[in-house]
Symmetry: C2
Subunit: 428 residues, 2 copies
């Protein structure tokens, strides 16, 4: 058993001050060559996939961060043509989209890439997103209810062309056996979709299904549908608990543990010595703009925290907003309480990975950390979130990946050409 | 003044029997390499753009035609990376989409291609499309009313980032001057969109705006917004009338005639001799499946014509369906009446270009035809619809384009790197 590794790409790096670091070029966040270089680097490292997050509003404050980059589906289609093996996972919301459009674009991406598409299914917790579609944000429960129906419709659309529908009999004048292209005639609570899809069955049958919600609704959704789960976990015990919990839920949906991979996010800050790594971490911390961090923290809870002193704690009456991103709120509250962090300290802890784990050290030390979580039931692999791009990804591929390969923990060559294949899954 | 030429790509060719011809490979309609080859060929010919039509349902009957190909925005993003100059025009509906998604994806495509994106704005006349979105087809008037508001919102979203918004001052910690990134707070009849867009201002300011409706509503819409109009015209007098009519409407919107290019569709059937061209046309006619043609004709009018004899005329009581594609219905009725065609003859005439003009001949004869329309006020250029792909496009590029270049009617080299530049327009 080897681990799975995705390159989670975000602008010029996951650290919120990455754009201020001298190694990055923040104007490149709209430059396709920047992403092409990253995709080729990730493929050189034999990683399972490239993963792109997404939101349907301008996230954060563009005054203090490099925002306004490219849209995932168009970007991944453009990256498909400069890569041969690596998977391409797009985040797409089920709350502000129609299943016909989404199923179709993902099928198209799967064809374009020869079977390398993945879909990170999100329900869009932000209020700003709703306002771009003339809506008010639906409740957490409604969003997940809609997501379930959305997914069922999307799956039925991909299945609307049987594998053997295309005949291509020129002489007989029959292109497709149309008894094998079927309408859905779906009529549900949220959607009414006739079908069939107007794109032929995608090479993987359907894209790899990925999910990242860690709330109760999110975990049930994942257990039912997801083939990979991205999660933010700060400690090995928390990761183990999450891992055991989620794997344990699969049985009731008739699924095996191996059919769902659990992939915590990790931001590796890599140095040739431990001291060098820690120095890089400090350099990045010094570039943090506190006002930006406070705003990000405020957004997580949907509460304005800008009047609270940086050297004081989170307000005692701060509680989870039931319609926000529940699991992220809980993680932040737990982290602050467990370590007794002031708002200023919390901001520094969140700046590296927005709640995901940050590990600073030598390539061997980082490999040790990944190995420990992998071998002790905390992870099937990791979503790698380089603090700086392109440098942090190149360092991971050039120094950490070989260390994992030497230890027999990661593939040396691709053994498949599809994303499902990399994850050890059959075509659907 | 030289003419503008687009390569209108469709599967393995525009002739509805193209997939049965021995020169095509119908299984390639989902193969990205097929489209990459076509894009490179079109760019070798210095054409202005690649154009992709689109519908949001399975059009026609897949039993008798090669259907189920790729989605335009993902496909064009994948073609952007293998070309350097040629424009990339995607058809996207305003009736079954949200302006935020569409403005964003087109902005992303414009960044990915370095300023080569175009948008063919359609209102989706088909009933099958509505059924994939849980809706009944809105009336013609409502569709155009929505399209106008949609376009205004999209333009405002592209304009929500000023050209000089990005500062990228690392030392000062200011990435963008956020006074130059403005919300829209749009509240209209069909849409409520807060904005701003979450993609930076696209290189062209906005994509080239293209439109193809030739109804009264369509022409007013084009006069107000479009920078290129695709149109189906069978005769030079009809083309001249349409040309003069549409150009004449620009003044009332404060626009100059040169700001809108009129581009009739032409399907060139090319032979090294006239006899060879006519033989190819006959070969294709013999591959037509009458039942498919009748079904296509039925779809245009929203009336089942399958019980009418092929050697008889269209039913005398056949009239235009006011909620269908008005201009195409009128063109077909006029064609049938003008030439006294039986249903069987009409099907053959429509098989080549679905109502667009078909011209068979030597490269010189085809150049003559294009030159005549261009010089006599019928066209600013053409939307080239090769009957067979890739062969028909390669023949056009290798034999007709050089003839046009020798006559001084078409560019020998690109003089711009953006689609607006090819059309002689400034960035918006």
């Amino acid at each position: 058993m080897t681990m799975h590794l995705n390159a989670f790409l975000m602008g010029v790096g996951h650290h919120e001050a990455a754009w201020r670091h001298p190694s990055t070029e923040p104007r490149r966040i709209t430059d396709i060559r920047h992403y092409q270089d990253l995709a080729r680097t990730a493929e050189r490292g034999k990683l399972d996939s490239i993963f792109l997050a997404d939101g349907l509003a301008l996230w954060g404050n563009a005054r203090h961060n490099a925002l306004g980059g490219l849209e995932p589906l168009t970007l991944l289609a453009a990256l498909a043509t400069v890569t041969d093996h690596i998977g391409l996972i797009a985040t797409v919301s089920t709350t502000y989209n129609e299943p016909f459009h989404v199923a179709r674009k993902l099928a198209s991406l799967d064809h374009i890439s020869g079977g390398r598409a993945g879909w990170n299914i999100v329900t869009s917790a932000g209020e700003a997103e709703a306002a771009n579609f003339g809506l008010t944000r639906p409740s957490h429960g409604v969003r997940y209810h809609r997501a379930e129906e959305f997914l069922q419709v999307a799956i039925n659309l991909w299945d609307s062309w049987s594998e053997d529908a295309i005949v291509a009999d020129r002489r007989g004048g029959v292109f497709a056996d149309t008894t094998k292209i079927r309408p859905l005639d779906h009529e549900g609570t949220h959607f009414k979709v006739r079908g069939p899809l107007n794109v032929q069955r995608p090479p993987q049958g359907r894209p790899l299904l990925v999910q990242a919600g860690s709330s109760e609704d999110g975990k049930e959704f994942a257990a039912r549908f997801a083939e990979a789960v991205f999660t933010a976990q700060q400690t090995l015990p928390d990761a183990q608990e999450f891992y055991a919990d989620l794997k344990g839920r699969l049985h009731s949906y008739g699924r095996e543990p191996r059919e769902l991979k659990i992939l915590p996010g990790v931001s590796p800050i890599i140095g040739s010595t431990e001291r060098e790594a820690i120095r890089l971490e400090r350099d990045l911390e010094e570039l943090i703009i506190p006002a930006y961090g406070v705003q990000q923290l405020s957004n997580i809870f949907g509460v304005d925290l800008s009047d609270h002193p940086l050297d004081g704690p989170l307000p005692a009456d701060l509680t989870q907003n039931p319609d926000g991103q529940q699991s992220r709120q809980r993680l932040v509250l737990d982290l602050a309480r467990r370590e007794g962090l002031s708002i200023g300290q919390l901001i520094k802890r969140l700046a590296g990975g927005r709640g995901h784990r940050v590990v600073a050290g030598t390539p061997e030390q980082i490999a040790d950390q990944l190995q420990e979580w992998f071998e002790y039931g905390g992870a099937d692999g990791f979503n790698i979130m380089p603090p700086l791009l392109p440098g942090g990804l190149a360092d991971f591929v050039d120094y950490v990946v070989p260390e994992l390969q030497i230890r027999g923990l990661f593939r040396k060559e691709y053994e498949s050409r599809t994303l499902r294949g990399h994850y050890g899954l059959e075509a659907a």
